[in-house]
Amino acid sequence: MRFRFTEDQTLFRDAAREMLARHCGPEVVRAAYEQGAGAPDAWRHLAEQGISGMLLPEAQGGLGLGMCELILILEETGFAALSEPVVETVAVAGPLLEECGATALLARWAPAIAGGRARVGLGLDGQPYVEGADRADLLLMERAGELHALTPERALLTAQASVDGARRLFTVQWAEGTGTRVAQGEMAARALARARLRATLGTAAQLIGLGARCVELAVEYAKVRTQFGRPIGAFQAVQHKLVDAFAALAMARPAVYRAAWSLDRGDPEVDLHVSMAKAQASDAATLCTRSALQCHGAIGYTTEYDLHLYMKRAWALSRAFGDSDHHRARIARQILGD
């Protein structure tokens, strides 16, 4: 038992963090929020750093790594509120095609994914909207236990405005045609179930990062904002609120890392572990948004200040792929068996 990332893994993470700080600062997120611009520079650098292809087989130009390697980076993309489909494209698409046995399709798309030239939109059952469907190069859609692949032009997209302006949600309507079906049967069902776990866990990791960003902003603000002749961060009411948020995050984080391990190793309890990760991360991140906003006061309640960019993403992701109520109900069925 050694619950610690390797130095390589943390160096990889540090590099991603640094890159995101440079190419996905608040001004980039703001542009994505206000103009739907995404973060193309950061997206390109993700590929250059070898991240986009991390989960692709080496035979396809990928690194053949797992969620244990990617999870720290996903956390960073949350911290930066990266407005690009990194979960769908990097964490889900490759493994899904591979596990479906869609070798040809994988061979066709792997180079583009690894090279940062393709964005994937993901439509899983139970998720009403596909994020970034309009800018996707490939849509991977679940329907009746089958996996279908299509390009956005073959679908009717209806935009669904999100509270987070940088999230581009769409209802995707499409007709099965020859060539959309990628996989069916047992194998597809299993691969799609794992895809759902990957998407859920990736979202949980981003929530941890988003929560950390909200707390960080609040801590920095509380150090410099002065009222009653001292920084507001010297008041117990402010201190303790931020500590509770920080502590919730600290306790949720290992659950996210553990689920990554379980996914990679095909642990029989991986469902339970992913649900726990998402439930804890959703609640912790939501608490972070509440505490951070309250400690900011009115300034945090404006769109001129950066906090809202991270807070709104956290609100949205806390419910994407199941909110904490949903996942606790799943856990109940598994551990209480009723």
């Binding site: 405005a161 009222q227 009411a237 509440r290 309250q294 006061g297 001129e304």
Partner: protein, 388 residues
């Protein structure tokens, strides 16, 4: 104790309900914190005034109908029950007016109150400054003596709907030697005065509901000073006490929200999910408890007690209840919770999301809940001053 409404109160309710049913727009108006919505709500408030319902508890000479406090609460219940929009005249009629009634000259009352009630002149508060939020007494804007009045210079911020209003009111330092709470004076300032610049600030929900107001040598005549010179702090505190007390958030608003939540639950809730069902019950109970508590407060006021620092308990309660109620609604909506106004799938046009965002401001505005807790601790429980 008599918890039945009197025949007169029931008649008042029936009359209010009939009028509101006939006049409240069937389609909800756009948010009063947008320019368009502000204009439309203002137009509705003019109708309200014509109908005699704008300021029910005021004297008749200013457009009221001298209703009792109980009747005012009844009116509020009916107002929100009818789906009428939050008042854009709020910061005039509920915040400035009580101060005017208490401290205003006859000339000021005669000049200001009726146009305020009629939504002809719209008022914004200008309490905060960039470096004076919770610590209001640290404000820095100044007023210096001039012929027949004062010259005002400084910056005010978080002026609710300031970009759409006509006048603001706030405190300025008139005695530079005096410290903190002393040497402040309460001014009323037309935003059209030379030297005033108004910059709208966008709120969390994207509405331009805030403004920053910059003042540079703005001349304000003596007649627009409210109360005594250098006594602004005590004059203003009367206002913030009514702000925190009854008038800012009457129970009617939350009762209506709780009813909407129950309707949402019936329409979209998973009837087998007892956890969420329990949260719906809690939300309903909270609104009901706040209503009962308010009727009790009103009875106590009628018996001659003043509202005092206990009003901070109201603020704590309604602001946190409002967040919980909206959180519950968003949980019912699940994956649809994040949909904003304009999304085809948005339930009720995204009203619950918008309501959630607005609810998050509740623990912040009108004195943060941290400040309120310290007020209750020190002035109700009698604990020692903290170092705040």
């Amino acid at each position: 104790m008599d918890l039945h409404f009197t025949a007169a109160e029931q008649a008042f309710r029936a009359e209010a309900r009939a009028w509101l049913e006939a006049h409240v727009p069937k389609e909800p108006l756009p948010s009063g914190d947008t320019r368009e919505g502000f204009a439309r709500v203002r137009a509705f408030e003019r109708e309200l005034f014509e109908g005699g319902w704008a300021v029910v508890s005021w004297p008749r000479e200013y457009g009221g109908r001298e209703a009792s406090l109980v009747e005012w609460l009844i009116f509020e219940e009916e107002y929100y029950r009818a789906g009428a929009p939050p008042r854009v005249s709020q910061n005039g009629i509920f915040l400035l007016a009580p101060t005017l009634f208490e401290f205003g000259t006859d000339e000021q009352k005669a000049r200001i109150l009726r146009p305020m009630a009629a939504a002809e002149v719209m008022w914004a508060q200008a309490w905060s400054e960039p470096n004076a939020g919770s610590d209001l007494a640290s404000l820095k804007s100044v007023a210096v003596r001039a012929e027949g009045g004062w010259k005002l210079t400084g910056q005010k911020t978080w002026c609710t709907r300031g970009a759409f209003c006509d006048w603001i009111y706030g405190l300025f330092r008139t005695d530079p030697e005096a410290r903190r709470h002393k040497g402040l004076t309460y001014f009323m300032i037309p935003l059209t005065a030379p030297g005033v610049t108004v910059r709208p600030v966008e709120r969390l929900d994207g509405d331009e509901g805030f403004a920053e107001v910059f003042l540079e040598d703005v001349f304000v005549p003596d007649q627009d000073v409210l109360g005594e010179v250098n006594q602004g702090w005590s004059v203003a505190m009367a206002t913030t006490s009514s702000e925190r007390g009854l008038s800012l958030r009457s129970p009617g608003r939350f009762l209506a929200t709780a009813e909407r939540l129950i309707a949402l639950w019936r329409e979209r809730g998973d009837p087998t999910d007892q956890r969420l069902r329990d949260r719906v019950v809690r939300a309903w109970m909270d609104a009901e408890a706040y209503r009962l508590h308010t009727f009790q407060t009103v009875a106590s006021l009628q018996a001659g007690r003043s509202i005092g620092p206990e009003s901070s308990i109201n603020k704590l309660f309604w602001s946190e209840m409002d967040v919980r109620t909206h959180e519950t609604a968003l949980s019912i909506l699940g994956a649809l919770a994040e949909l904003d106004t304009g999304a085809p799938d948005a339930v009720d046009g995204g009203a619950w999301l918008r309501g959630y965002e607005f609810s998050l401001a509740g623990p912040i505005y009108a004195g943060t809940n941290e400040i309120q807790r310290s007020i209750v601790a020190q002035h109700v429980l009698g604990l020692p001053r903290d170092r705040g």
